[in-house]
Symmetry: C2
Subunit: 394 residues, 2 copies
C-alpha cells in the first residue's frame, strides 16, 4: 500500500501563521499534488500544531505513522519499543513505506567504564531486546550467556564484581571500546552495533542522547557521610536502598545532543515516552541541553506511558528516584515532570486521576499498563500511538 | 637443609683484581664467617669469574643454585622453564632457601593490541604454563577454554579474526589493558598476573624485558611489494610462509630494560637461555639496550639450549627467522648469535659439532633435546644447570 508522506520541503520550513495555500511537488506519490491548507486550526497554535501537508490527505493520514521518535531507558523502554515495532508491523503504512522509521533516543547516563571497557547498559538492552538476543527472564544481558571472562577476572582480583557481565556481553563492550578508542563517536559505534542486531532492517535507528561521555552520579547522605557514587553502584550494588539526595550527571555541562537527535524530535510524526524511569532515564535525556527545547517546540504530539502502576514502579527503583526529587511515586507526579511538552498520558486504571487532577492541555487515558508479555507491550504501544494520532488530528 | 648464600654486600661490590682477604659477617648461616679468598683464579678473568664468596664454601656451593635468570620466548621457553622448576625442586638448596629465585626475562616483542586489548603472548604462555592453566596440547592459551567472546566479536565484524583468543584468555588481556590504562607499568601488571598464577610461591619472578611498548614487525618483499606486517600476522596468519627480509622492532629505540632485569643478570648464579626462537624471542630480548651488555658483563656462566634439533626447529618457524639473517637452521649457527657472552651450549646428538667447529671458550654438550614430556624437559633443564655449575667452578 502506498501511503502519502509529509512533504519534506514543507516540513523543513518554519511554521508560519499564514493561511496562504502552498503548492507541493510530489514526484512519486499518488495523491493530490496541489495541496490547499484545509483548515487554519493547525496554523494558530504553534505549540501543538503540525505541518500542513499532513492534513491534505483525507484518508490515509489518519492512520499513517511514518516517523516515530521515542526516548528510552533500559528494560521497560526496550520492552515497550519491541511492542511498538510489533504494533507498527500491523499498521498499514509503516512497514510498506521505505521512508518510515522509528528513532530511539537512548539514555547514556547509566554508562559506566568497567574493567577499562565502556558499558552502555540502556543502549545494549535496547539492542539485545529489539535484535532478539535479550535474556527474557532478567530483561537485560544476553540469552544463553556464559561467564568465563568474569570468573577469570574475579580470579585476577579485578574489580568491581558486583556488575554481572556475560561473555557475549563482554564482546559488545570490547568492540565498543575498541571503536571508541579509534576515535569513532558513540553514535557511529552504536550504529555499527545496531547493524549486527538487524535494527536497520526493522527501520529502527538507535541514537545515543549524546556522543559526549556522561555519567549519572548519586549523592548520598547517610551514616557514612555525604558522598557521590556512580548510578550503577547505587542501583545495582546498593539496590537503591540508601536514599538518594540528588542526582548529578557528570559531563552534562559539555554534552550536546548526538547528531540526528534534535531533527528526530523536530520532524517526528509522533513522539513517545515509554514507561522508562522518569528521573534517571527520561529525566537525564531531557537534561541534555537542547532536547527539552526540541520537545517543547516539536509539532508532533508527545505521548507518554506511565512507569508507575498502582502507585509503584513496574520495575526498578523509580520510587527511590522520585523521592530524591521530593515527589511521590504517582502517575500524575511523573506527568508533571513532562508538563511543558507532553500532550497525552497513558495511565493504568489503578492510577486514573480525578478529572480535577488533570492539567489543562493534557489528555489522560487509562488502560492496563502491565507489560506481562510481548502482546501486552504491543497493545500498550498501540494505545500510545492511537492517542498520539488522535492528538495529531485535533 | 641450610645452604650457604653468597654475601649480598660482596656481590654488590664491583669486581676487583686483588687477592686481599675479605671478612663477611653472616648472622644466620652455619658456615665459616671469615672468608678468605681461596684462589686467585677467579680474580684474573673478569669475564667469566664469580664473586669470591661463592668459593669459600667448600661443599654446598658446588651444587647450590640460588639465583637463576633465564631469557624466554613462548611455548618452548615456557616448557623448558617448567622443567627447570621441576628440576630445581629436586635439588637441595633451591626450595629450602627463602632467598632462592628464578627470574624470567620475557620477550614482549610479540605483543600486539587486538580489539583494543594489549596481548602479551609470550608472557601469558609462561604464566599459564608455570601456573598450571596452559592448554597442553597446543602449548599456548588456556585449558578448557570457551570462545563466546571471539564468536560474538566475529558477529560484530570486529577484526582481526585470525588470532584465536579464548574467553579466559580475554580476561587476562582485559585486566592487563585496564591496569595499563590506569598508568601501571607492564612490570607491575605482569607481577599482578603472576600472583594469580602462584609464581611467587614457586619463587619465580617474571619480568617483561621492557616496560615500553615494543612490537616486532616483519619486512616482506614479494609479489605484493615491500611491506611490513606485525610479527603475529606473519607468524600466525601467514604461517611465516612469506620469506622475511628482516625484522624491525618498533619502539626499541625508546626501550629500556624493565626494573630488575639488569640486576637479575648481574647478580645471577647462572643464566640460562631456553630453546626459544633465537631471532624473534631471545634475539629481541638481546636488542633491548643494556641487556646484551649485562650478559657480557655478568659473572654468572651463560648456558643455552639449542632450539634446533636435527637441523630443524623443534617448534615454530625459527628456520624462517634465521633465513632472514642469512643463516642456516643449525645449532652452531644459533650459538654464534650468542658468541659474545655464552659459555655453554647444549645440542642434540643429531647436531653435535665436530671439535673444530666449536669456538674457543664455548663448552658444547650433546644430549637428547626433544621435550617430549615434562620429565624430559626437566632432564634437559637439569643438564643445562649442571653445565652451568660446572662452568661456574672452572
Amino acid at each position: 500500500m502506498t501511503v502519502p508522506k509529509r512533504c519534506k520541503q514543507e516540513r523543513a520550513r518554519p511554521f508560519k501563521n499564514t493561511v496562504a495555500a502552498r503548492t507541493h511537488k510530489r514526484q512519486q506519490w499518488n495523491y493530490t499534488r496541489v495541496i490547499p491548507v484545509s483548515s487554519s486550526r493547525d496554523l494558530i497554535s504553534a505549540r501543538f500544531s503540525h505541518d500542513t501537508p499532513v492534513w491534505t490527505c483525507k484518508k490515509a493520514c489518519k492512520t499513517a505513522v511514518m516517523h516515530v521518535t521515542a526516548l528510552a531507558g533500559g528494560v521497560g523502554g526496550a520492552r515497550f519499543l519491541r511492542g511498538l515495532l510489533d504494533h507498527l508491523a500491523t499498521r498499514p503504512g509503516f512497514t510498506d513505506d521505505p521512508d518510515s522509521q522509528v528513532t530511539i533516543i537512548g539514555n547514556t547516563g547509566d554508562d559506566i567504564t568497567l574493567f577499562g571497557l565502556r558499558v552502555c547498559p540502556d543502549l545494549d538492552t535496547i539492542l539485545y531486546t529489539l535484535g532478539g538476543g535479550i535474556h527474557e527472564g532478567q530483561g537485560w544481558g544476553r540469552a544463553d550467556e556464559s561467564f568465563a571472562v568474569q570468573g577469570e577476572l574475579a580470579a585476577l582480583g579485578a574489580q568491581p564484581q558486583w556488575f554481572g557481565l556475560g561473555d557475549k556481553d563482554f564482546a559488545t563492550h570490547i568492540a565498543r571500546s575498541q571503536w571508541l578508542g579509534q576515535g569513532r563517536t558513540l553514535s557511529d559505534v552504536t550504529a555499527a552495533l545496531a547493524t549486527r542486531w538487524g535494527l536497520p532492517e526493522q527501520r529502527v535507528r538507535l541514537l545515543p542522547m549524546t556522543d559526549q561521555p556522561v555519567e549519572t552520579h548519586v549523592v548520598l547522605d547517610d551514616a557514612d557521610g555525604t558522598r557521590a557514587v556512580h548510578f550503577q553502584e547505587w542501583w545495582v550494588r546498593m539496590g537503591a536502598a540508601v536514599p538518594a539526595t540528588r542526582f548529578v550527571v557528570a559531563g552534562m555541562d559539555r554534552a550536546t545532543p548526538a547528531p540526528g537527535v534534535l531533527d528526530a524530535l523536530r520532524t517526528a510524526d509522533i513522539v513517545l515516552l515509554p514507561p522508562s524511569n522518569p528521573v534517571v532515564s527520561i529525566g537525564v535525556i531531557l537534561s541534555v541541553p537542547g532536547i527539552r527545547d526540541a520537545l517543547r517546540g516539536t509539532l508532533a504530539p508527545v505521548v507518554g506511558v506511565s512507569p508507575i502502576v498502582s502507585g509503584r514502579p513496574v520495575r526498578g527503583h523509580a520510587d527511590a528516584c522520585l523521592a530524591a526529587l521530593g515527589m511521590p511515586a504517582e502517575a500524575m507526579s511523573v506527568a508533571s515532570l513532562y508538563a511543558d511538552f507532553m500532550r497525552g498520558w497513558l495511565v493504568d486504571p489503578a492510577d486514573a486521576p480525578a478529572e480535577s487532577e488533570i492539567p489543562a492541555g493534557l489528555v489522560v487515558r487509562s488502560r492496563p499498563l502491565l507489560m506481562t508479555d510481548r502482546a501486552a507491550a504491543a497493545a500498550i504501544a498501540g494505545a500510545a500511538v492511537e492517542l498520539a494520532l488522535e492528538l495529531r488530528r485535533t
